[in-house]
């Protein structure tokens, strides 16, 4: 019964109010329970991602081949490095946040303000980095074609290196020009012909380059993508239906459609958390500057937003693992 009889200091008035059985203020406790519910939301998303990945375990894209961009190093693929940098930025902004909380315990206003400011900067850099990551993901690099059965075919040369569509596709004169919004009334556009090259143009270009081969989504025992021989490649390419460039919610050039869907949804939801965290941090930062907590004689509000900020970092640790490492 020790767990339910809560306080020694107030035995007669257990139900009379003023008790703090968990020794935490109301606001802090509610922040913890909000974090619990948010953690369950993210767990639901990540578990759904795991579900879909298990469903397509033999055809799932290899993250190292998708996320290869690093600023100013265009053309040389750098798997992992950029996302590692983002992780460091977020961990470091967590450190400055906890230093702000620590300074708050000692009522050092200037220190709290400086550390809060650094946290905000770290958060903004992280959101910016994520935007850059999204930009590269959406733009794509090589392009691919989708078959009538929904499989994705990518192009490689004889030594297995990826080849971009624009390197070999030919411009056929009879192809219809895509209808874009600038030429139509209202929102008329022509999705079928929107890619830079049509299916026929890719097929003609492939025929003209006998050294090219098709790479399918299927993973081999060596955990590499399967590369077909020339005859099979031509047979598969004849079933092509769409040219896929970059990524959107319908299809993407990396492989399974769900891969891009979950990437957008989960990193987007996390990025939205970072963004709202930055906004909340800015509000609290100005409160610190105005001396609100100095007058209140307690910097607990900094502690509460700190909890939220660390939670965002915590979620990223898991997103980093399941999207980039595993």
């Amino acid at each position: 019964m020790e767990a339910t009889v809560t306080t020694a200091n107030n035995e007669e008035k257990t139900w009379g109010g003023g008790n703090e059985p968990l020794r935490a203020s109301y606001g802090k406790m509610m922040m913890w329970f909000f974090i619990v519910s948010d953690a369950l939301t993210f767990s639901g998303f990540l578990a759904a991602y795991g579900f879909s990945r298990f469903k397509f375990i033999e055809t799932w894209p290899i993250a190292d081949e998708v996320f290869t961009h690093f600023p100013f190093m265009h053309g040389s693929p750098q798997p992992m490095l950029y996302v590692a940098l983002m992780t460091f930025i977020l961990i470091f902004s967590s450190v400055t946040m906890v230093l702000a909380v620590d300074a708050g315990h000692h009522m050092k206003k200037t220190k709290v303000a400086i550390y809060m400011f650094l946290t905000i900067i770290g958060g903004l850099i992280f959101v910016g980095s994520q935007a850059w990551e999204w930009k590269n993901f959406i733009k794509g690099e090589y392009g691919a074609v989708e078959t009538a059965g929904g499989s994705l075919l990518q192009f490689v040369d004889a030594s297995g290196n990826r080849v971009a569509i624009e390197k070999f596709a030919v411009k056929l004169p009879e192809q219809r020009e895509a209808l874009t919004r600038s030429h139509g009334t209202w929102f008329m556009e022509d999705a079928e012909t929107q890619p830079t090259y049509s299916v026929a143009e890719v097929q003609a270009g492939f025929k003209a380059h006998p050294e090219l081969l098709i790479r399918t989504e299927v993973l081999t025992a060596k955990k590499q993508k399967t590369i077909l021989n020339r005859a099979d490649s031509e047979a598969r390419l004849s079933q092509a239906k769409y040219v896929v460039e970059g990524a959107n919610l319908t299809r993407n050039e990396y492989g399974s459609k769900l891969f891009a869907d979950f990437f957008f949804f989960i990193t987007g939801f996390h990025g939205f958390h970072v963004f709202s965290g930055v906004i909340i941090n800015i509000i609290i930062f100005f409160n610190v500057l105005l001396g609100t907590y100095e007058k209140r004689k307690s910097y607990e509000m900094v502690e509460k937003v700190g909890l939220y900020w660390h939670f965002v970092d915590l979620v990223w640790v898991f997103v980093f693992t399941v999207f980039y490492l595993v």
Binding site: L22, A24, L40, F51, F56, D102
Partner: protein
């Protein structure tokens, strides 16, 4: 508030160094993917992924315990926050991953081609 506030700056920097070191190890393993780890399995998961998940939990523990200062809270608060998350997540993962694996089998062994 009942806990006394000694300065933790030293511990904060220690935890930062620890988390950074773990991340460096993860990135290093993620880039080089040692074959002995990738192609050996333990309970359905390859050893490299086991390492990744264990290091993730390790990092999560330090973020919650040191940065979110869970170690300074009462044990009843600790349990009421941590246990629902852990048990619900384990349950959810068990159900969804089992079902995902089952659907993989359906796609593989039957003629269904529908990609949903």
């Amino acid at each position: 508030m009942s806990h006394e506030h000694v300065s933790n700056t030293k511990r904060i920097w220690f935890v930062f160094a620890l988390l950074s070191a773990v991340t460096v190890v993860e990135v290093f393993l993620g880039i080089y993917k040692p074959e002995s780890l990738v192609f050996n399995h333990f309970v359905g998961l390859n050893l490299l992924n086991w390492i990744f998940y264990i290091l993730t939990i390790f990092k999560a523990y330090y973020i919650v315990w040191a940065f979110m200062h869970m170690e300074g809270e009462t044990s009843s608060l600790r349990w009421s926050v941590v246990s629902p998350v852990i048990f619900l997540v384990l349950y959810l993962l068990f159900i969804l991953l089992t079902e995902g694996h089952y659907i993989y089998g359906v796609f593989k062994d039957s003629t269904i081609k529908w990609n949903f």
